[in-house]
């Protein structure tokens, strides 16, 4: 993971640790345990391995975009596997539904980072030493360098020319040193290597930030109908990092006073009709006994007590009342239904545990309900223009064995479906807003009283995020430095006599990599010199020098 080829030369295995042959007999080099470890370490930290690991990392990340991932969409993953009874479990064994937490994916990036550290640390040492040392000695034959100019200066001005060169180069932030009289060495662009090291070290910072967030961060999700509130004890799901203690989750409460949703009605052309336009949750937050009103939008999370509350979803929570045959209320409340598509066709369940035997309904909520001949009941618009519930009814044991179950689905393992009045077909209840419908079998009535919306809120705390962001920005800065700053050496040497009374001063420049700017650098340095010092003819040399 370095950006010059030298590193690989350094890492060439067996370059310097083979035993020296003695006498005339060739000695087979033997690698002891230490030798082997050194060999492997050098292999691992070589550029070629880093490059290989980079490409492997790119390939390994792809399956996570092809197959559904458990951490993103567990339901879709389960369905996907269920649909493919032979292939699904095999892929699951190889972790293709949790790609980014599998050992094989982790081993790639860990190896890459070990390789990176093993490469960057020695380079940092070399770079520190280079920055303390003067530029290298002036080579003997400067005309062999990438770019050079021959200047002819009056004999008595030779020292003055070198001084002027030194001044010009120092102004260009070169470090200049004269090892011997009549020579000059300069080096500039140390920031290129500094940037390179900064970039790679900052990448480690990014990983550490991600790890901190994973270990000490937590998230909790809740579905909150209008008028209801939630606190940390009322999360629907709570996922703390392994090193989170309960104390660190702040004890605030949040009430959703009202939820506003708006959908596209004006533009009826392709792709836009019914698209969401605005979601706003108007909330009242209470922290440390102080209450205040605020709003949460999709791109405007709310900071509460060290945590951040995001609006990630929304839907409808029909207020439903179930009465028994005597008119006594068995169930009443806003019941969230989970949207399944862009028209908010939503599934949900009503579990009337107070009834005996238990009574359960499940089915669809349709905000703008239409019944068509082909598709039956469906929603054609996401806003609540013509809301209706389409339910089927069951009776029996609602919570067999007391196992936890989804609030949106009915476990019908130990329930029987209620039939319609004729007793021939399953009963289908169609309830529009404000309507009351008889439950078959004389079990009472069910009323669709009113319609609330719910807000899907997520509360997150990620203590590593600033480290991650800071490190990422540092990496970007380092990247810019290493890609844009040229590392160059400029040399000058006095040598040879020119035409009468003049001495030749050769200046030359070189770079580690391809550098098309060397000629213009020499031109600029040349232009800085007093024209009186420098004879003609130096220009003519230039073209030849390329």
């Amino acid at each position: 993971m370095a950006t010059t080829s030298e590193h690989n030369d350094l890492a060439a295995p067996g370059a310097d640790d083979g035993p020296t042959p003695s006498g005339g007999t060739p000695v087979q080099p033997t690698l002891g345990l230490v030798g082997w470890l050194r060999f492997l370490w050098r292999q691992l930290t070589s550029m070629r391995t880093a490059l290989f690991l980079l490409l492997i990392l790119a390939v390994a990340a792809v399956p996570g975009s092809v197959f559904p991932q458990r951490n993103i969409d567990p339901t879709r993953t389960t369905d996907w596997i269920a649909d493919r009874p032979t292939l699904g479990p095999v892929l699951d064994r190889f972790g293709l539904f949790d790609v980014y937490s599998t050992p094989w994916f982790a081993s790639i990036y860990l190896l890459l980072f070990i390789s990176l550290v093993g490469c960057v640390l020695p380079r940092a040492r070399v770079h520190l030493r280079a920055m303390r040392q003067p530029p290298p000695r002036t080579p003997a034959r400067l005309e062999r360098l990438t770019a050079y100019r021959r200047l002819e200066v009056p004999d008595e001005q030779v020292e003055g020319t070198l001084d002027a060169l030194e001044k010009s180069l120092r102004r260009r932030r070169f470090r200049v040193h004269r090892h011997q009289p009549g020579t000059l060495s300069a080096e500039g662009g140390y920031l290129k290597e500094t940037g390179n090291l900064l970039f790679h070290l900052a990448l480690i910072g990014v990983i550490v930030g991600v790890a901190v967030g994973h270990l000490w961060g937590w998230k909790g999700d809740a579905i909150v109908p209008e008028g209801q509130s939630f606190a940390k004890t009322r999360f629907d799901t709570f996922a703390p990092g392994p090193w989170v203690d309960d104390e660190s989750v702040p004890p605030f409460t949040l009430r959703v006073d009202r939820f506003h949703a708006e959908f596209e009605r004006e533009v009826t052309g392709a792709g836009q009709f019914g698209m969401p336009r605005d979601f706003t949750a108007y909330v009242t937050a209470t922290e440390n006994g102080v209450s205040y009103e605020d709003e949460i939008k999709v791109n405007h999370p709310l900071e509460v007590d060290g945590a951040t509350v995001f609006l990630l979803g929304n839907g409808y929570a029909p207020v439903i009342t179930v009465r028994d045959a005597d008119g006594e209320i068995l169930y009443s409340g806003a019941t969230p239904f989970l949207p399944q598509d862009n028209n908010y066709q939503s599934v949900g369940a009503i579990k009337v545990a107070a009834a005996d035997p238990g009574l359960g309904f499940h089915g669809w909520f349709l905000p703008t309900a239409v019944i068509t001949a082909e598709d039956g009941p469906q929603s054609v618009f996401p806003d609540a223009l013509q809301p209706a519930l389409a339910l089927t009814a069951y009776e029996g044991e609602l919570f067999p064995d007391g196992r936890p179950q989804s609030v949106f689905r009915l476990n019908t393992d130990e329930m029987t479906q209620l039939s319609d009045a004729e007793g021939t077909d399953a009963a289908r209840l169609w309830i529009e807003l404000g309507e009351t419908v008889e439950i078959p079998g004389g079990r009472g009535t069910i009323t669709f009283e009113s319609l609330d919306r719910f807000a899907g809120l997520s509360v997150r705390h990620d203590p590593g995020r600033w480290l991650t962001l800071g490190a990422a920005l540092l990496a970007l800065g380092g990247l810019l430095l290493t890609l844009l700053v040229p590392r160059r050496r400029v040399f000058a040497r006095v040598g040879g006599t020119g035409p009468e009374g003049r001495t030749v001063v050769t200046i030359a420049a070189m770079a580690k990599a391809d550098d098309t700017g060397l000629d213009s650098l020499l031109d600029a340095v040349h232009d800085d010199l007093d024209p009186a010092l420098v004879g003609q003819g130096s220009r003519a040399e230039k073209d030849e020098g390329r």
Binding site: T3, Q69, L145, R460, T468
Partner: protein, 348 residues
């Protein structure tokens, strides 16, 4: 003028831009055809290139006798000598050498048409933005048009600084193709944004992404031309590529473009992560679009490394850069349309 009119005029500007770009494409094609050496000229050229290659060989010999890695000084400091000697013949080659006046004029006309097409595209994008009172980056159609605008803008601005007539056809043709597909298959009515896109990060994140992609695209084009030129130079065939910059110069251009685009792409990822935390509560979700953006970043990082890894040729490194662009195409085409993603804003 109301919003509907603006959207309509935006489309008219887009049609005009496509017509003008089609003309530019024809002119560029004519220009390249004019670069093809005629039969009689070709014989001349062959003689010339035979001469050239002897000269090159001589130069190489001189270089070899001087020692390919330069001198070693007493201090042991190793000095890398210029490897430019061989390419001086190619990079010094003038584009217009032996090209007829008519062809040269055609090249100039093509350049002017490309400018006109760029301006019309800019007008179209501006009108679209006005008609919806926001940055026109909300769906796949708008994204494609803006990407084409940035490609043409980058190309046209760059062409004021150096002669890019040779590159014209290879930039304008794909742009025209993408505009056509965008209009036919991805057209989405002008409308407001959905809540998750209502953020100033849309402008920052997506604009920088589009600029990066535009430069990656031009880099991919010069990369392909480099590989072709490299083949031509090795075989010594006559081709219109003889009038193009030499393979070494093309390779350097390719690298230079990627050096500009890669930090922009890095910034795109960072800005995207900041926005993702605001909109989706977590800065990185391994959403398919994020996965592919990451893959693109890693592949281009591999290119930058491969280019300086000893034992890896420039050609092989360039193939990695091209693989990076294929990933961009997948990220835009396949992920938007076929994968289940939080980035599903295609409007289709």
């Amino acid at each position: 003028m109301n919003a509907l009119d603006l959207a309509l005029y935006s489309n008219y500007a887009l049609y005009s831009a496509m017509a003008v770009l089609a003309l530019a494409m024809l002119a560029y094609a004519g220009y390249l055809a004019g670069l093809m050496p005629a039969r009689s000229e070709r014989r001349e050229h062959e003689k010339e290139s035979a001469l050239l290659s002897t000269r090159e060989r001589e130069e190489a010999l001189v270089g070899a006798s001087a020692g390919p890695t330069g001198s070693v000084e007493s201090s042991g400091e190793r000095v890398v000598a210029s490897d430019d000697a061989g390419s001086s013949a190619t990079s010094g080659r003038a584009l217009d050498e032996g090209v007829s006046v008519g062809t040269r004029k055609l090249g100039g006309i093509a350049g002017s048409l490309a400018w006109l097409g760029t301006i019309l595209l800019a007008v179209s994008v501006a009108l679209r933005g006005l008609s919806v009172s926001r940055a026109p980056l909300g769906n796949m159609f708008e994204f494609a048009v803006v990407a084409c605008l940035f490609v043409m803008l980058a190309f046209s601005l760059w062409s004021t600084r150096r002669d890019l007539r040779w590159l014209g056809l290879f930039v304008v043709t794909p742009v025209l193709l993408v505009l056509g597909v965008a209009l036919v298959s991805w057209y989405t009515e002008a409308a407001e944004l959905m809540p998750s896109l209502q953020s100033y990060w849309l402008v920052i994140h997506v604009t920088v992404a589009v600029i990066a992609i535009a430069i990656f695209f031009i880099g991919a084009v010069t990369g392909i031309l480099y590989l072709a030129q490299d083949k031509v130079e090795q075989s010594g065939r006559t081709s219109f590529l003889n009038h193009f910059p030499g393979s070494k110069a093309l390779e350097r251009l390719t690298y230079g473009l990627h050096v500009v685009a890669f930090p922009l792409w890095t910034f795109t990822l960072i800005a995207g992560a900041i926005w993702a935390r605001q909109a989706w509560a977590s800065y990185w979700n391994w959403d398919p679009k994020e996965v592919w953006s990451f893959v693109i970043w890693v592949v281009y990082a591999a290119y930058l490394h491969a280019r300086v890894t000893s034992g890896w040729s420039k050609q092989r490194a360039t193939y990695i850069a091209l693989a990076g662009f294929v990933c961009i195409l997948i990220n835009y085409g396949v992920v938007n349309l076929f994968f289940v993603s939080q980035h599903s804003y295609s409007g289709l």
